[in-house]
Each structure stands twice: as structure tokens, then as C-alpha cells.
């Protein structure tokens, strides 16, 4: 893995959500997973921008589902994490862990 291939924060968040959803995740469930775990309401557009970038890098892959009437006749696009994606996540985590290890960072309580 070359320089500059580390995952951005949001990329990690999205990729982890995909991993949590175990191959069944699609835009809406990814969005909800992020909201559920982090309390952040993100837009569908940013989720997809990230997902398609991850797919382009070979870190995730997608397949089309069946179109349904509740979606105005549009198909779902299901995402799953690829081995390279898992490695990239691990690498990012490893890097952060290495940096955190022993760092005297204490956040004061918010009043």
C-alpha cells in the first residue's frame, strides 16, 4: 500500500458501516447505521460519493438488487467490503493505534 492510500475518516466510517451490515448494506441502511452508531445525520449523496470512490479503489464492491415499488421502481445497490478494504481499515486502525499509544492527550470535560 503506497503513500496517500490511507483511508479518510469518513471513508472509514462508511466502510465500517458496510462491514457491520454484512454484505446486505445499501445506501439507506448505511446511512442509518452511521446515524445509529454515531448520531451523525449524513446525506445520501455523501454516502454514495464515498461508496463509489471506495469501489473505484477496489476496497468495496456492489451488486444491483431488484427494483421495488416502494423505491419508485429503482433498484437497490448493495455493497460489501472487499479483502483490500478490510486490509485498508486494519492499516488505518493500526496507524492510529500506533499514534495513540502513550500519547498524553486529555480532553477537558465540556461544561
Amino acid at each position: 500500500m503506497g503513500k496517500g492510500d490511507f483511508l479518510g475518516e469518513f471513508e472509514q466510517v462508511v466502510l465500517l458501516a458496510v462491514a457491520h451490515l454484512k454484505g446486505d448494506g445499501y445506501g439507506m441502511t448505511v446511512r442509518k447505521e452511521i446515524a445509529r452508531r454515531t448520531g451523525r445525520e449524513v446525506t445520501i449523496g455523501s454516502v454514495y460519493a464515498t461508496l463509489s470512490r471506495l469501489e473505484e479503489k477496489g476496497l468495496a464492491s456492489s451488486r444491483e438488487g431488484e427494483p421495488t415499488p416502494t423505491r419508485g421502481g429503482r433498484a437497490r445497490k448493495h455493497f460489501q467490503i472487499e479483502p483490500a478494504g478490510a486490509r485498508a481499515l486494519q492499516a488505518s486502525r493500526g496507524m492510529l493505534d500506533a499514534m495513540w499509544d502513550g500519547a498524553p492527550v486529555e480532553a477537558p470535560e465540556r461544561s
Partner: protein, 891 residues
């Protein structure tokens, strides 16, 4: 229930701007979650959707840009298409930024033209062409009738009798379903026990089957229910939603109507607005039980598949002829009567379609003007770019290359205009919809953005922009490069023809603007004149409302007695000066009768004059402040037992008793009939504009409620207040409740509001035409300014020479302005010619102004020429300030 549609505009924007790879998935996800949220809280769901869609634009654009960038880089080795387009686009955007005024004007006028057209055509589509959601609107017809013996026009409302309906239903072969109904206000008590006054239709036949629709929930009337005329009802979707909160458990339960339980069997689909009926039930009596001349019913039918409207009308004509033969001896009005079907769309939009089509024609003119103006601006700019094009050609750029660059530029400009236009259309349509909902016009349809129309107008306007944007490329290829490069702005062959084209366009713009301004001017003039008409009484501070007493409880004298008691209570309300009741008040006229009067040639039948007949309480004239001219008004001593008395308005007095003293004379309502009471005229009151300000006063006969009021259980109460009228409403409601807690008041409005409503179509048409006129004027001014500016820049040398030879500034200015005004004057002359047919089209809406009002024509011409002169003066002024040395050297 169908899944709800997410908000249109955000959805369209996302579809337009979304990354093509994942756009559908995004829209699908949003749709899915929207439906979940909608079930929980529709408003919040809409807000959420809008936030999501708009918030998604930036990431989508970013994604598209990075993809385009990569494509660009991968092509960068060769002169790939992407690179070229990218470069052209950059160039186009740079050009747009470099000439901000030009860009803004082109984009804004395109946007306004597209926006206005979409709004108006959407309105026409929603209101006139297909106001109803029926699946096959062309097959649904109303059946109208006209009785020449009664002097009536073709009428579709309260026009047929039950037996006439039976004739049609039983004899028709062209209609597969025929229904008939009567309407009235009924008291409905729902599960929570609060009474409502509800506009109710009483049907023979299955209305939903005739309309070709299914119930929204529940079902339509069943065959047994229809046969037995059971106590069942359908609720309109809107009534069900607004009054019962879309409670689906209502189906199968009973509502109390006039003390009888009626089972709700279903809810109508949304948008079925037929004369505002909220509740549809079955007529309990069979049609055969009614008299043949009890004409207060509407008839509607469904044309058989494959049958034309003309065939229906042929059949109806035959039927009318047979009825006439059979019954004319008994009912004279059948002589020569007419039965005619029209589609329900036409029937229901009659009253305002004229105004709507005028506005539609006007906005078409606006679109033409926008195209002409865009063409003009682009032509003017093309002039300035001839040299640029020639240089590029000289450097080896092919014609295709130049075309593709100019095309990118035009498309960019046009698309900017198109996008802005769509946004304007959206906003405008929402505004018009809101305006109409509050206008009181009898509109059944709703207005929403009409996709095909938007696409059409956008294509026309954008297409015009593109085509005219390409002119410089064609011009360059037609002229010799060296010639262009050497001539540097002097007129060349192509320049001369371009100038002719430009002047022609200016002339066209002026002519179109002229017509629009004349239309707006005539209507505005009419409007002002109409508002200057004296209504004949004090219209300020009069609050009116309607009350309907149920016949079961209030019979005969109980009705006037109730209103007498109500009067006393209401007069005690603080802020109320006086109170009266009446069956109608100006400008609300429903009730007309033939009047027999002493000295009439004919004792009965068709030649007796029509008059409005109004039954009032004694204080009516005093409350409305209608002046007494002769004799007296009603007194409390005019009671049930005393001789019948009547009051006439001046027009009726003049018509019935010309040149005589009407006081003491006798009249009868309807034809002379010894069985019926005669009324002695006791007084004459001033005329009011009893059919609206734009109509002459109509003869009106007043009778007093205490003498014949028992048959009228539905009355308006009028309160003259000393304070703001609506402020007394709560106290008024309380007073009514105290008297009879079951009686709701409804149709609450001030007299002034009623007059404004009566002028609704006129106000709307005036507003639109005036707006279009002003817009057209602005466009024409912009067009003229552009043309003159470029003409001046073209003639810099010549003007410089003139100045050098001693021409003073004033002379130069006059020269430029005079030349600029030539096409304006010609355009105005054409405009005068065009406004004559326009005036004729407007005739119906004009009031106190002739269609060719010279004052209007002259003022429009003055304004237009004045604006044109002003628009050309600025460049003329610049020309006159030219430094001759600079000008001559500018070569």
C-alpha cells in the same frame, strides 16, 4: 394507499445533478426512507427529503468533477474530445463572467420567459384542460338545457327535472351511465357530536361508476343500496381528510344527517370537486314522485365507448323533440327547448375559461418576445466577435471547431437560463396555486408544474438561444477573413443583412410589447372604472353569513320567528349597529322570477319580465343603507295576516310602471294567478349593483320575510358593525349557539369580499396582462438598447468624423436616436393593427372602455416610444461624447 410522492423540485434537482453511476440508487434509497418517515409525519418527511436531496448536491458534483478530471487527464495526451469540451466550457464560462451584464440579461429573460410560460400553461392545464382526475374525461358529459320560451341560455346547473332525467336515462343508447343529483346543505353530526353544515349531493345512480373511478377507501354504492335508495354516503377525500383527519375507521360507521343515521360506505378519490359537494348520498325518493317541471337537478352521463359527443347530441336533440311534442300543451316552456351535452370539463370551466385563454395567448406572446430578444442580444454580440472569429480562422481553426466552441457557449447560457427558469416556474406555480385557492374563483382543479410544458418552453427558448448564438460562426465562414480583419467594424455585406435582421427583431419586439401593453392597459382601465362604480349602498363594515334551518324542526312561521329572535340577540352584540336577514344581497344573486305587474300585456308566460326576487327582514334596507326613494320600506306591522306588500328597486319600478307612480300598484311573483297572493307596492328603493359592479342594476323585487318567509329556510344574516367586521364573529357564533346549539353558521364573508370575488376572473386577467405588459416593455427596452449600442460602436469612425467636422453633441444624439426609433415606430404601427383583434377578444372583460380606446392606444404608444428613446439615448450620449481623435484612430 399509494406510496407518497416525494417533493418534486428537490427530487428533480438531484436527478439532474446526481452522479449518473449512483443517482438511481440514491433516489431509490431516499424514496424508501421517505415513505417510512411519511407514515410517521408527512411534513417532517418532506423537510427531511428536501434537506437530504439538497445536501447531496455538493458530494455528487464533487464526484462528477473528479471523474471528469480523471477522464480529462487520461485523454490529455491527444487532443481528445473531453479536453476540447472542457476547454470550450472553461472558455464559455470565462466569457460569461467577462460580460456580466450581457450574461445576466440573456439568462434572466430566458428564465422569466420559460418560467412565465410554464406557470400559465400549467395553470391552463390544471384548471381548464384537465381539472379533474377522471381517467377518461372526454367521456364524462353534463347535460344542459335551454328554454327559448323562458329566454334562457344553455344552462347546466339546476336545469333538469327528475322526469326529464328518467327520459334521458331510459331512452339513451349513446350513454352507458346516466346519473342525476340535487344539492343542498345538510346538517351532519359525526362521532364526536358536533354538527357541521355540509354541502351534500343527493343522487340517483352510481356517480363513481359514471366517473369511471374506484373509491379511495371503502366502496361505491352497492346495487341493492341503489335500488332501495338506502341511507348510505360517500365522503369527498378532502372533507374526510380535513374534517375527520383521514380516519379510515369511519368507513362502515354511521354519520347522522338530519337526525337519520347514514352509513359511510367509502371515500372518493382526491380531487373530485363537483360544485364543492363534500358528501354524496342517495336521493331517498324515486324520481317518478316529482313534478315534470321541478327543474333543480343536474344530469351527468358517461359516453359509451366508441360513441362521439356529436352522436350523443343528435340523440338528445331527438329526445328533446319528442318531449316537446308530447308535453308542450301542458308545459309551454318545452316549445323549442334544447338538450345538449358538453364534457364536464367544459361545463365546469365555462365561467373563467375566457380569461384563462386570454392570459395564455398573452404569455405565448411573451415567449416569442423572449426569443426575439435573445436573438437580438446574441446577434449584437456576434458583431463584436467577428474579428475574434476571423483571427481564429486565420490561425487555422476550422469552421467545425468554431461552431463547437460557440455551441458550448450558447448551450451554457441557455442552460443557465433554463435552470433558473425552472426554479422560477416552480415558485410561480406554487404562488398561483395559493392565489387561486384564496381567490374564490369556482375552480375545481389544482395547479402543479406541468412537465411537458416546462420541457416545451425550455426547448423553444433554449433552442432560440443556441441557434442565434451560432450566427457569428456562420457569418465568419461566409465572409472573407481578410475583409473582416481589414474592415474592422465597418459595415460589410453580412453586417448590413444582420442589421436588417436586428431592426426587424426590434420591430417585432415592439409590436408584441405594444399588444401586451394595450391588453394590460385596457383591462387596468376597466378595472379602475369598475371600482369607481357606486355599489348603491354602504359596502364597508357589513359581515354576512348563512344559516339553514332544518325543515323538520322549523316550519312555516317558525322560520321568520327564529330569525326575528336571532336579530334581537345579534343587535345586542357590542360593536353591531344593526342586523337584517335576506335570501340574497348584492352582489350575490341566485333567485330570479318572472313578475306579473298591473298593466302587463300578458297575464302569464314568456313575455313577463324577469326580476331578482329577494325576501328580507324589515331592517334590510336600513342595515345595508340602501336609500329609500318613494313610499316606505317594510315595517314590523307587515305581518303574516296583513296585506302582502313589496318594495321595488328603481330599475324594476321603471321597467314595470314606466312614467307612473308605482306605489299602490299590484304585482305577482310568477304569472298572474288568482290563487296566488298579489303584492301591493309600498315603496321604491335605490338601485344597487346587485349582480356585481360590472353589470347594470337588474330589476329587483323585495318581499318581507314575515309574510312569505316560511318557505325560505335558508337565509343570510347581515350585520352592520361599528368595528372591524370579523371581530364580532365569536360573539355572533355564541349568540346563534345560544338560540339553537345545532345551527352552524357558514359562508362567512364581508360584502366587500363578495364584491371582490365577483370580479375574480377580471382581477386575475388584469394582473397577469399588466405584469406581462411591463415585462414586455422591459424586454423591448433591453433589445433596443443592445441594438443601438452596437450600431453606435459599429459607426464609431463615422460619428468621430462627424464630430471632427463640427457636428455638436446634440446633433449626434438626435441622429442616433432618430435612427434607433425607426423600427420602433414601425413596430408600434404593426402593434396598433394587432391590438384590434386583441381588443375584440377582450371585449367580454372590458368595462366602460372600448376595445379600440384611443386614449389607451395613444398612451401605450407614447410610453413605448418614450422608453425606446430612453433606451437609445444612453448609447447616443456616449457617441456624442466621443473624442474624434480616438474615434478615428480606433481602426
Amino acid at each position: 394507499m399509494n406510496p407518497p410522492q416525494p417533493p418534486t423540485l428537490p427530487r428533480l434537482i438531484l436527478r439532474l445533478l446526481g452522479d449518473p453511476d449512483t443517482r438511481d440508487a440514491q433516489l431509490g434509497d431516499l424514496h424508501e426512507e421517505y415513505a417510512e418517515r411519511y407514515a410517521y409525519d408527512p411534513r417532517a418527511a418532506r423537510r427531511w427529503y428536501t434537506r437530504q436531496a439538497l445536501g447531496s448536491i455538493a458530494p455528487n458534483l464533487g464526484r462528477r468533477a473528479s471523474r471528469a478530471d480523471r477522464a480529462l487527464r487520461s485523454h490529455a495526451a491527444g487532443d481528445g474530445t473531453m479536453t476540447t469540451i472542457w476547454r470550450d466550457l472553461k472558455y464559455a464560462l470565462r466569457g460569461a463572467r467577462k460580460h456580466p451584464a450581457f450574461t445576466a440579461v440573456v439568462v434572466l429573460t430566458l428564465a422569466l420567459g420559460i418560467g412565465a410560460n410554464t406557470v400559465i400553461f400549467s395553470a391552463v392545464h390544471g384548471l381548464v384542460l384537465s381539472p379533474f382526475p377522471f381517467p377518461e374525461p372526454d367521456r364524462i358529459v353534463g347535460i344542459g338545457s335551454a328554454h327559448p320560451r323562458l329566454g334562457g341560455d344553455l344552462n347546466f346547473f339546476e336545469n333538469l327535472s327528475p322526469l326529464e332525467f328518467v327520459d334521458i336515462r331510459d331512452q339513451t343508447r349513446t350513454l352507458e351511465d346516466v346519473i342525476s343529483w340535487d344539492m343542498g346543505n345538510r346538517q351532519i353530526t359525526g362521532p364526536e357530536g358536533i354538527p357541521d353544515n355540509v354541502r351534500t349531493g343527493f343522487f340517483w345512480g352510481d356517480p363513481l361508476r359514471t366517473l369511471g373511478m374506484e373509491a379511495h377507501i371503502g366502496r361505491s354504492f352497492g346495487p341493492d343500496e341503489l335500488a332501495d335508495r338506502d341511507a348510505v354516503m360517500l365522503l369527498s377525500y378532502e372533507f374526510w381528510r380535513d374534517r375527520y383527519g383521514a380516519d379510515s375507521t369511519l368507513v362502515g360507521r354511521a354519520l347522522i344527517m338530519d337526525e337519520h343515521p347514514h352509513t359511510v360506505v367509502g371515500v372518493l378519490p382526491p380531487g373530485i370537486d363537483i360544485y364543492g359537494m363534500e358528501l354524496w348520498t342517495l336521493m331517498s325518493a324515486p324520481p317518478e314522485r316529482f313534478d315534470r317541471n321541478r327543474r333543480q337537478f343536474q344530469v351527468m352521463g358517461r359516453i359509451r365507448d366508441g360513441v362521439t359527443l356529436r352522436e350523443v347530441n343528435t340523440e338528445l336533440a331527438g329526445l328533446a323533440g319528442r318531449t316537446a311534442q308530447e308535453y308542450t300543451s301542458e308545459f309551454e316552456e318545452y316549445e323549442g327547448w334544447v338538450l345538449q351535452a358538453q364534457t364536464w370539463n367544459d361545463v365546469s370551466t365555462q365561467s373563467f375559461r375566457g380569461g384563462v385563454f386570454i392570459v395564455m395567448g398573452a404569455v405565448g406572446f411573451v415567449l416569442l418576445l423572449v426569443c426575439a430578444n435573445t436573438a437580438n442580444l446574441l446577434l449584437a454580440r456576434a458583431q463584436g466577435r467577428r474579428r475574434e472569429m476571423a483571427v481564429r480562422t486565420a490561425m487555422g481553426a476550422g469552421r467545425g471547431r468554431l461552431l463547437s466552441q460557440l455551441l458550448t457557449e450558447s448551450v451554457t447560457l441557455a442552460l443557465l437560463g433554463g435552470i433558473l427558469g425552472m426554479a422560477l416556474a416552480w415558485i410561480g406555480v406554487e404562488a398561483v396555486d395559493g392565489l387561486l385557492a384564496r381567490s374564490g374563483l369556482p375552480v375545481a382543479g389544482r395547479v402543479s408544474v406541468n412537465g411537458p410544458v416546462l420541457a416545451f418552453t425550455a426547448a423553444v427558448a433554449v433552442g432560440a438561444g443556441i441557434i442565434f448564438g451560432l450566427v457569428p460562426a456562420f457569418q465568419t465562414s461566409r465572409t472573407e477573413i481578410s475583409e473582416t480583419l481589414q474592415s474592422e467594424g465597418k459595415a460589410t455585406t453580412s453586417g448590413a443583412s444582420r442589421q436588417r435582421l436586428q431592426r426587424g427583431l426590434v420591430g417585432l419586439e415592439v409590436a408584441l410589447a405594444f399588444v401586451l401593453l394595450v391588453g394590460g392597459g385596457l383591462l387596468l382601465n376597466s378595472f379602475v372604472r369598475m371600482n369607481a362604480v357606486e355599489p348603491g349602498f354602504q359596502t364597508e363594515n357589513v359581515l354576512t353569513m348563512r344559516l339553514t334551518l332544518p325543515r323538520q324542526e322549523y316550519e312555516g312561521q317558525a322560520v321568520p320567528a327564529f330569525f326575528q329572535r336571532l336579530n334581537e340577540r345579534l343587535e345586542a352584540v357590542p360593536g353591531v349597529r344593526s342586523v337584517a336577514a335576506g335570501t340574497q344581497f348584492p352582489p350575490m344573486a341566485f333567485s330570479y322570477r318572472r313578475i306579473w305587474h298591473e298593466g302587463a300585456d300578458d297575464s302569464e308566460g314568456a313575455t313577463l319580465p324577469f326580476s331578482q326576487t329577494t325576501i328580507v327582514s324589515p331592517g334590510y334596507f336600513e342595515t345595508l343603507e340602501i336609500p329609500l326613494r318613494v313610499g316606505r320600506t317594510f315595517a314590523v306591522t307587515d305581518e303574516a295576516g296583513s296585506p302582502f306588500v313589496a318594495v321595488l328597486n328603481e330599475t324594476a319600478a321603471r321597467r314595470f310602471f314606466p312614467g307612473q307612480d308605482p306605489v299602490g300598484r299590484l304585482i305577482q311573483l310568477g304569472s298572474a294567478d288568482p290563487e296566488q297572493p298579489s303584492f301591493q307596492v309600498v315603496g321604491v328603493v335605490g338601485d344597487t349593483r346587485n349582480r356585481g359592479l360590472d353589470q347594470d342594476p337588474f330589476p329587483e323585487v323585495f318581499a318581507v320575510h314575515s309574510q312569505i318567509g316560511g318557505i325560505q329556510n335558508q337565509l343570510f344574516v347581515m350585520l352592520r358593525t361599528e368595528v372591524e367586521p370579523s371581530s364580532v364573529l365569536p360573539a355572533v357564533r355564541a349568540a346563534v349557539q345560544e338560540l339553537d346549539s345545532d345551527q352552524p353558521v357558514y359562508a362567512i364573508a364581508t360584502v366587500e369580499e363578495r364584491f371582490a370575488e365577483a370580479a375574480g376572473t377580471r382581477r386575475m386577467t388584469t394582473l397577469f396582462l399588466t405584469l406581462f405588459g411591463v415585462f414586455a416593455l422591459a424586454l423591448a427596452a433591453v433589445g433596443i438598447y443592445a441594438v443601438v449600442s452596437y450600431t453606435v460602436s459599429e459607426r464609431t469612425q463615422e460619428i468621430g468624423l462627424r464630430v471632427a467636422l463640427g457636428a455638436d453633441g446634440g446633433r449626434v444624439r438626435r441622429l442616433v436616436v432618430r435612427q434607433a426609433l425607426m423600427p420602433v415606430v414601425i413596430g408600434a404601427a404593426v402593434g396598433v393593427g394587432l391590438s384590434i383583434p386583441l381588443g375584440m377578444a377582450l371585449e367580454q372583460l372590458l368595462f366602460g372602455v372600448s376595445a379600440t380606446d384611443p386614449l389607451t392606444l395613444a398612451s401605450v404608444a407614447t410610453v413605448l416610444v418614450g422608453v425606446a428613446a430612453a433606451a437609445s439615448w444612453l448609447p447616443a450620449f456616449r457617441a456624442s461624447r466621443l473624442d474624434p481623435v480616438e474615434a478615428l484612430r480606433s481602426e
